[in-house]
């Protein structure tokens, strides 16, 4: 008994330095694996993105000049909505089967585990959306030369969207039908990202410098990377403990 008491702190000290990173990668790997098991769901945001983009030429005008004018905004708004749509399920299954409670009990900080979940979500929604966006840009007659900027702005922006959105997802995970509420909470917070994302693409279309907009997107990402994990962790605790 006394031996056990003596050795426990030593073991804890030996495992703790690697513990956080191991827990982070394990959570990331687990989430990616789980998402790949439901491939249909994985494709849904992309299909939604393409569908919304299809609606606009039908609803507004198939005229290429008109479409080229509004393409940056359309692509960004549609991508934002697609990312929002996928957020509701971010913590939902873990909440339902109780693994979220295990994460709360884990010795590693909940903020880090939440960040791993957000990273998995971004890898499988934000990243594909950013890669598909130039393709849809072609159909909207987006002027060539702005495709790389579109992809890059979405790459940076969707990471911020995932981080900010995860706060809302964590706050509403305990509510039975939190989907509509989630969008009410999160959309106002998305506006800065939208402004600079669209700004970058429009600057690229006109031929102006895009560095300032991309730098602002990077700054928003850095700020949300710094603050959002703590808000996510606090929100998850509230949702589970009440």
């Amino acid at each position: 008994m006394t031996q056990g008491q003596k050795t426990t702190p030593v073991i804890a000290e030996a495992t703790l330095p690697g513990g956080l990173w191991i827990a982070f990668t394990a959570t990331l790997r687990r989430d990616v694996t789980l998402m790949f098991r439901r491939r249909g769901e994985l494709l849904n945001p992309l299909v939604f993105f393409a569908l919304v983009i299809t609606l606009f030429p039908i609803g507004i005008s198939p005229d290429r000049e008109v479409l080229a004018l509004i393409a940056p905004g359309l692509l960004w708004v549609a991508a934002l909505l697609a990312a929002l749509l996928s957020l509701d399920s971010l913590f939902r299954t873990d909440y339902d089967d109780g693994s979220l409670e295990q994460m709360l009990l884990a010795p590693q900080p909940l903020a880090a585990l939440g960040l791993a979940k957000v990273l998995a979500h971004w890898l499988l929604t934000g990243l594909p959306l950013a890669l598909v966006a130039p393709l849809l840009g072609v159909t909207l007659a987006l002027p060539p030369g702005s495709y790389a900027v579109l992809a890059l702005s979405l790459l940076l922006g969707s990471a911020s969207l995932s981080l900010i959105g995860a706060i809302g997802a964590a706050l509403t995970v305990g509510i039975a039908r939190g989907g509509v509420l989630l969008s009410l909470l999160i959309l106002p917070l998305y506006i800065p990202v939208l402004i600079f994302g669209v700004g970058a693409v429009q600057a690229a279309v006109i031929g102006e410098g895009v560095a300032a907009h991309l730098a602002m997107l990077g700054a928003l990402l850095a700020a949300s990377l710094l603050l959002a994990p703590w808000a996510i962790a606090a929100s998850l605790r509230i949702s589970i403990n009440g």
Binding site: L181, L185, L189, I191, I195, G199, S235, G242
Partner: protein
């Protein structure tokens, strides 16, 4: 000093002390608003460009001031609640949210009415209007989130987190919307370049702003008091109070 502040954290103390402060706040609010209204509507000179329609400013500007201040005070109360677990702070934050939403709506509505004679349109995607509209959505989000929780404690904490996230975002939203405005609509009319006001126009405005702030404090005290009674209904001192009243 600290014990004085700590005492206010007790619902019973708050209820007793706010009863003494409250009448003064109401009196100040009524006098200032009455004075500002009469002065602003009847005695302040008409604007040489906008005529009498400029008088909407005496409602519009105080409401817009309050809209932002209420969100900041709500977030501050939420922070106090989350850090020190002071329940009175959460009660104050609860009653501030609807008031702030109403003030934001009043600012937007009076702005829209003012827009008809000056801009010739009810709505313009101006930077200030847009960030005000977003502020309204933030208020509605906080109210809706609090209402969505079945347990009051969970709703309070969730709304507090959202209020704090929102207050960090308000300056970011404001500056990004300003940037967006300069990018998109640099040629249209800007509210910011209003000509400097003469003193006889400006003084009643200041009085109205002060009056609105007193009104905010008085109303928050009053509604926090009823919130205290509602939540502490099973406590001894509230029951005694009810017996006395009977």
């Amino acid at each position: 000093m600290w014990t004085f502040i700590h005492k206010w954290g007790s619902p019973k103390w708050f209820y007793a002390m706010s009863a003494r402060v409250q009448p003064w706040c109401w009196a100040a609010a009524l006098i200032l608003i009455a004075l500002g209204t009469v002065w602003g509507l009847a005695f302040a000179p008409a604007d040489y460009q906008q005529g009498d329609s400029f008088r909407i400013i005496y409602v519009h500007v105080p409401a817009a001031f309050l809209a932002q201040s209420v969100f900041v005070s709500m977030a501050a109360a939420s922070l106090v609640f989350m850090v020190w677990k002071i329940k009175v702070a959460d009660m104050a934050a609860t009653v501030m949210a609807p008031f702030g939403a109403v003030m934001t709506f009043v600012a937007l509505f009076s702005g829209a009415v003012w827009g008809v004679p000056t801009w010739g349109t009810w709505w313009m995607w101006d930077a200030r209007l847009t960030s005000m509209l977003i502020l309204l959505f933030l208020f509605l989000g906080v109210i809706a989130l609090r209402g969505a929780f079945t347990s009051r404690d969970g709703g309070s904490k969730a709304a507090s987190v959202l209020a704090m996230v929102g207050v960090i975002n308000i300056p970011i939203i404001k500056y990004s919307v300003d940037w967006w405005f300069t990018l998109h609509q640099s040629s249209t009319f800007s509210v910011t370049s209003r000509p400097a006001m003469p003193t006889e126009m400006w003084l009643p405005l200041l009085i109205m702003v002060l009056g609105f702030y007193c009104f905010f404090i008085a109303l928050t005290l009053m509604r926090t008091r009823s919130e205290i009674l509602r939540r502490e209904i099973n406590k001894r001192w509230v029951m005694d109070l009810a017996k006395e009243a009977r």
